[in-house]
Amino acid sequence: MAILDKNLSLRNRNKILVGVWEDEDALVDAAHALVDKGIHIHDIYTPYPVHGLDRIIGVKRSKLARVAFLCGLTGLILMVTMIWYMYVIDWPINIGNKPVRFTPSWIPVMFEGTVLCTAYGMGFFFFWRNRMLFAVKNDLLDDRQTDDRLVVAIETVEGMNEAEVVELMKSKGAVETKEFQAVCK
């Protein structure tokens, strides 16, 4: 599976029908109605997380938790290897004849290294998957989608009755409908 989620870019797509809502409950009802009609919602843009929308539009459960676990495991192995090499193989220090192999005093450094690798590893894959990088530009469908408006994007497909979709959005409380066609570069 490719790591980068290609759905996030609106470039190189068919025309997109855009519906704008102001009320969260109306949007959730509308999303249900659209999906029930067999219309595929490409994405919904909201200024704050609206729980359940991802399930309605068919976003699969994220695998980031497993990725985080693997990053943590990598961190743990790295830390154990590091301490083992420095402390047991390369230069064992005799402190009061205490054992040097796997003592409890290794635990704090192992723990901190594990946490650091989990957090940054997961963060790295999170940014990658979500097409996020410093200074990246993404297309906004509405100027206020990061302020107070909730925006539904439906990609047109052959045979879709566009007028019917727009009408359905309006009847379900969309305060504005428009079309969006990204300029392909």
Partner: protein
């Protein structure tokens, strides 16, 4: 179907809409700085200058300009280090632990508390780093290949654990804070007018559009980061406490230190959060977002953790007597009735006795009183670290080494100077970034059940 709650009080008052939240919270960023901001920022710069001068003098002349000596080798510096690290703990507690407990009242205060964490850890780091004396060889604390006969760092030493713990804590807190900021930076990006501002907010917004796909992953990442930060925050102050507890100094060699330090850290951290927010809500007109309910919740945590710390003080005293070790018994009697009695009783009255006033509702709901109490808590917690460090060191097993210790002007200057670092960072944060998490606050406007 989702209903509005009939029994719970609203977390945000004033019947705000999402657009109101954006307008209110981005106002300081989009407008010219207020005169209160200018005064505060100038004052912070003055303190920052004090830090710069004290640090320059320390580095130019040598660590001898501090009054630390062979007996009291840790004085104001490590006191200040533990003080600032402790303050740093409330941010992660609010954002991580309260997130795991689904405490939605944290949403108005988590952003500034997280910022406070980062700035406090920066202040804290100054002290052990410059206490090294030869700060230019500070990198020796890192496990790097070197030419000194392959001499590696000592993994048995809590001081090394501290290097790992504090740097991990700082890095993870920074990531947590930044990920939390991205949706809000995007909101600001879409509001600012000037070209430079647009460029920089766009730079840091990382192309955020508010896509449902991104939000779903974002919430998962926040939850996992919270789950990671919770044991992390406990580990950090536990490790700071082992700096003391693994030694054999009377007064330090106790197993109660880790929980006692963690409770103290949360206590002092909430003290500082209260100090900042009581002022910020007034000056920035955020009374509808940081309500009396928020302040009351914080005072309850201050009272509980203050009492926990108080129990730890009393338990320590009891165990010293019960252990039957004369040095241990003397250390505690010396703390309470020796030459530093004033520090001990300042600590006791500020940390154990004073917070009991929060049993009364009036005390929990009166902002100016909470402000004064938060200062008392901060003073008390500074004295706690001073008492632990100085009274234990100044008289131990060998009476011929007994000395008195008082911080020099340079040490005092460095401490005051760190307030300059802290507040300069905080004022810049309040000017350029949203002090309240807009995205999260918007999600709780409708008091859902």
């Amino acid at each position: 179907m989702i209903h509005d709650s009939l029994i719970r009080e609203r977390l945000v008052t004033g019947d705000k809409s999402a657009a109101d939240v954006t307008r209110d919270i981005s106002r300081p960023i989009l407008n010219q700085p207020s005169s209160a901001w200018k005064v505060g920022f100038t004052l912070s710069i003055v303190f920052l200058a004090i830090f710069g001068i004290s640090l320059f003098y320390t580095l130019w002349t040598g660590i001898g300009v501090w009054n630390i000596n062979k007996s009291v080798m840790w004085g104001w510096d490590i006191t200040n280090f533990v003080f600032w690290v402790g303050i740093g703990h409330a941010g992660t507690l609010i954002s991580a632990v309260l997130l795991l407990f689904r405490q939605k009242w944290r949403m108005s205060i988590n952003r500034s508390a997280e910022a406070m964490t980062i700035f406090a850890v920066i202040c804290a780091a100054m002290f052990p780093v410059f206490h090294m004396g030869r700060v230019w060889v500070g990198y020796w604390a890192l496990p790097l290949p070197n030419a000194f006969g392959s001499l590696w760092v000592n993994y048995n030493s809590p001081l090394l654990w501290d290097v790992f713990a504090i740097s991990t804590y700082f890095s993870v807190s920074l990531l947590f804070w930044y990920i939390g900021l991205i949706p809000d930076i995007a909101t600001i990006r879409d509001k600012v007018k000037t070209k430079t501002a647009k460029y920089w907010y766009n730079f840091f917004a990382m192309g955020w559009t508010g896509s449902t796909r991104t939000w779903a992953r974002y919430e998962l990442v926040s939850l996992i980061l919270a789950g990671l930060s919770t044991p992390l925050v406990l580990s950090v102050h536990t490790i700071v406490s082992t700096d003391f507890a693994t030694s054999v100094i009377p007064g330090w060699h106790t197993t109660i230190f880790p929980p006692y330090f963690v409770a103290g850290a949360i206590f002092s951290g909430f003290g500082m959060v209260a100090t900042l927010l009581v002022v910020a809500r007034k000056v920035m007109n955020y009374e509808n977002y940081i309500t009396i309910g928020h302040l009351e919740a914080m005072t309850k945590i201050i009272m509980v953790t203050g009492t926990l710390v108080g129990i730890a003080y009393i338990t320590e005293f009891f165990i010293a007597w019960y252990s039957g070790v004369p040095e241990e018994q003397y250390a505690f009697l010396n703390r309470a009735f020796g030459p530093y009695w004033w520090a001990y009783w300042s600590m006791m009255s500020c940390n154990l006795i004073a917070p009991q006033v929060f049993w009364f509702k009036w005390a929990r709901t009166t902002p100016w009183f909470i402000f004064i109490m938060s200062i008392v808590v901060n003073v008390g917690m500074w004295f706690e670290r001073f008492v632990i460090i100085v009274t234990s060191l100044h008289r131990d097993y060998l009476p011929s080494s007994w000395v008195m210790y008082a911080g020099s002007l340079t040490e005092i200057g460095l401490f005051l100077g760190t307030f300059g670092i802290f507040f300069t960072c905080f004022f810049l944060f309040a000017k350029f970034l949203p002090v309240i998490n807009m995205a999260e606050v918007k999600s709780i406007l409708r008091n859902r059940e």
